[in-house]
Symmetry: C2
Subunit: 441 residues, 2 copies
């Protein structure tokens, strides 16, 4: 069943009862003066609900995980939250005891600035690793943002800008869906760009299909009435099919965070797992996560091509997943995509060295337009087809295409949304040691 979803403007402020702001408080200590009116990219955001909300979160499974992740993971267990403070410019990672104190000070200071009960603020950070937070600037930013909170689309856009790092575009989406006659809205913002192959869970345990790495932060709001346990289940499913299916460079961040706050102001009837209302809400939440996840890949550092790797015919999901990730993260496959080269030899080699069980003589490899079933096969049962090289090149020339791999061994499948590997990625990430503030985590 496909739910009737309508994309609407407003992103995190499309749901009722939320306010947001984004300000510049010089977290990178650029020393260019303070204030969001100075034309600098904003670096601190607040997102606040009028009333306490149900919350669920998923976080990086990296064993080196940042202080804000630790603070959030502990706090979301209570299932209630009312505000999020988020910043770019500093990841507050590898900052030890001082980092934990700073992350806690960020949520406590936010609670005081907003007159919230203790324990209802959450925090997300992204940026440089190993540098302690400039807490005076952060406190000033929180005070300024609290004073500027509002619910216009501009406010949402400013919050989205404040979490951007190497992103070239801010990432926002919202949808509405009807639950028993009530309009329920779900909206989100996120940031990505590099260190992108999230493998998030709520418990710190790696998902069955173990991914590798990103700094991505995603903040989702909803006005749905939904119990914590139900929201948690919906978020797991949504992330499993979106953020945990993307890769830019295969590097998993220390800071990956997805938070969803649902404040209940839509007034829909509460729903349980497995109900049709749950199905509708799930569809909306997954839509928001998937739309944002795809934006992350398309706006990845130096990315020039967006490829959906579709593996089917595997013996197990774990095999399908392993094959898809091997292809999606192979430097040779990714550079060939960049070059518009169908190079199925490299694709077959990557599938062959993946942990997935394959039989070379059974593998099919082909290309299609995004979502199309009209597949041009380059390899059938391990043998090159008669497709002309020029025709194959034409199939992989577009900015976006699907890569189809059928192992013909079983019924399991998996897909990955992947990016190519370009000179620009290398150029960007080799950084500039003469300007250490340019060196991201």
């Amino acid at each position: 069943m496909k739910a009737k979803l309508t994309e609407i403007p407003g992103s995190i402020l499309a749901p009722q009862g939320f306010r947001a702001a984004g300000v510049f408080c010089d977290i990178k200590r650029l020393g260019t003066g303070k204030g969001s009116d100075k034309g600098m990219k904003r670096d601190l955001a607040l997102i606040v609900s009028e009333v306490p909300a149900t919350v669920a979160g998923m976080f990086t499974t990296n064993q080196a995980c940042a202080a804000p992740v630790k603070v959030c993971a502990a706090r979301v267990k209570k299932g209630r939250a009312q505000a999020v403070v988020a910043n770019s410019g500093n990841a507050n990672a590898c900052t030890g005891k001082q980092g934990m104190q700073d992350a806690l000070e960020m949520v406590r200071f936010t609670e005081r600035a907003l007159n919230l009960p203790q324990g209802l603020a959450l925090v997300g950070s992204t940026g440089r690793i190993g540098v302690t937070m400039p807490m005076d600037n952060v406190r000033a930013g929180i005070i300024e943002a609290a004073a500027l909170l509002g619910s216009t689309p501009d406010h949402a856009a400013q919050a989205a800008e404040a979490v951007m790092t190497s992103d070239t575009r801010s990432k926002r989406v919202a949808v509405e869906v009807k639950l028993g006659g009530k309009l329920v809205r779900v909206g989100g913002i996120c940031k990505g760009a590099g260190m992108i192959q999230p493998g998030m869970s709520a418990t710190g345990k790696r998902p069955a299909a173990a991914p590798l790495h990103a700094t991505m932060l995603c903040f989702i709001t909803s006005d749905a009435v939904v119990a914590p346990r139900v929201l948690n289940a919906a978020l797991h499913e949504a992330v499993a099919n979106s953020f945990n299916r993307i890769t830019v460079d295969g590097d998993m961040s220390t800071n990956d965070t997805v938070l969803v706050l649902a404040n209940g102001l839509a007034g829909n009837r509460d729903f349980g797992l497995g109900t049709s209302d749950f199905g509708l809400f799930q569809t909306a939440l997954t839509h928001v996560c998937l739309a944002l996840a795809k934006m992350i890949v398309r706006d990845g550092e130096g990315v020039s091509r967006f490829v959906t790797v579709r593996v089917k015919g595997a013996k197990t999901f774990s095999d399908a997943d392993a094959a898809a990730r091997a292809v999606a993260n192979s430097p040779l496959v990714k550079t060939s995509w960049h070059g518009g080269d169908p190079n199925w030899g490299r694709i077959l080699a990557a599938v062959g060295y993946s942990p997935a069980t394959i039989v070379e003589e059974k593998v099919d490899i082909g290309y299609s337009a995004p979502g199309s079933r009209d597949i041009l096969w380059s390899l059938k049962r391990g043998q090159p087809t008669k497709a002309a090289f020029k025709t194959l090149c034409a199939a992989v020339a577009p900015k976006e295409f699907d890569l189809h791999i059928n192992l013909n061994l079983g019924q399991a499948g998996a897909l990955m949304y992947a990016a190519d590997l370009t000179e620009e990625y290398v150029e960007f990430n080799k950084g500039d040691v003469s300007d250490p503030t340019s060196l991201g985590g």
Copy 2:
């Protein structure tokens, strides 16, 4: 015990009783005329022993493995060989039944051209994937090479040139060692450049420390008297500590092959496993493999820096290996090396997302000159040290340095010889689809 090893010239022709040749027979079908006198890079090599030799081999564990690998893996089981035919320009991979016929024809035609008994020739191929071998050119090349066989250093150099693909330098080494008063020599040539993270075994089973990928071919000769079982054990040990410890891009090839032929002409006394002569021979063979393996990394596609990643303090070897490989293959770590950026944040993130068990608060990260114990630490027990950023940059500025990672959890260690990731790697591997002959496997 360190054996007294002397590096000597002559590579594969340093041991007694071997001859070689390298010719151009236009395997890429460049159509520029035949003959090794046309100034084209040679593309077919013969290496021949005067007498049948003991042989051992190790091969890619990629499940998509090329026809010549299948032919060799079957033939080396008999433990006897006398000749190797090797070519660049075409990998004879993903070429199905025709590929198997062609690989068999290459060894059989070589046997006839050299008047050898059936079953004593082996074959190695590297180059384009999915294109059948131009067998008329190959046969002509074998005939020409057989006529030109010789034992001068030039002959060895020509054979080494013939297996090069994107290599910029030919790779050759030889050593001699005294076994019971007899001089025994071991020499080798190899090729590498891209698709380099070999994970070779003799049985097709992945080594315990599962690596990922390369096309590397390596041919080793020796005049030692050594039994097949003993030679096999020595080769396993040598490869485990050399080729299986390197990575350029983390891509494992369909064609990785190491062959060693020992013809017994040195007249040393036969030796068993665990004897002191075995130890000496092992040292010589490992020296040859390690020297060649390092040459592969230093001459990897676009490589500008050679980094030895040294992990210690892991709970198990498998953990140490996983941590070292995660760091050595992280695009973000590799681009930071390229930029001369000590970026220990990315290194810690890679260790953290690896399958190795780590405790962030225990990890040390530092840098030294190659082989030096004078380590400059950037991270101690998970916390940044007071080392100045400029000082850390100076430590990673040289073309070659060691990266030290101590997990401080146990006694196990592992190292990887790794390369950085550069714009040139991307530029080279995106290829030129207007010239399909430029597209390697």
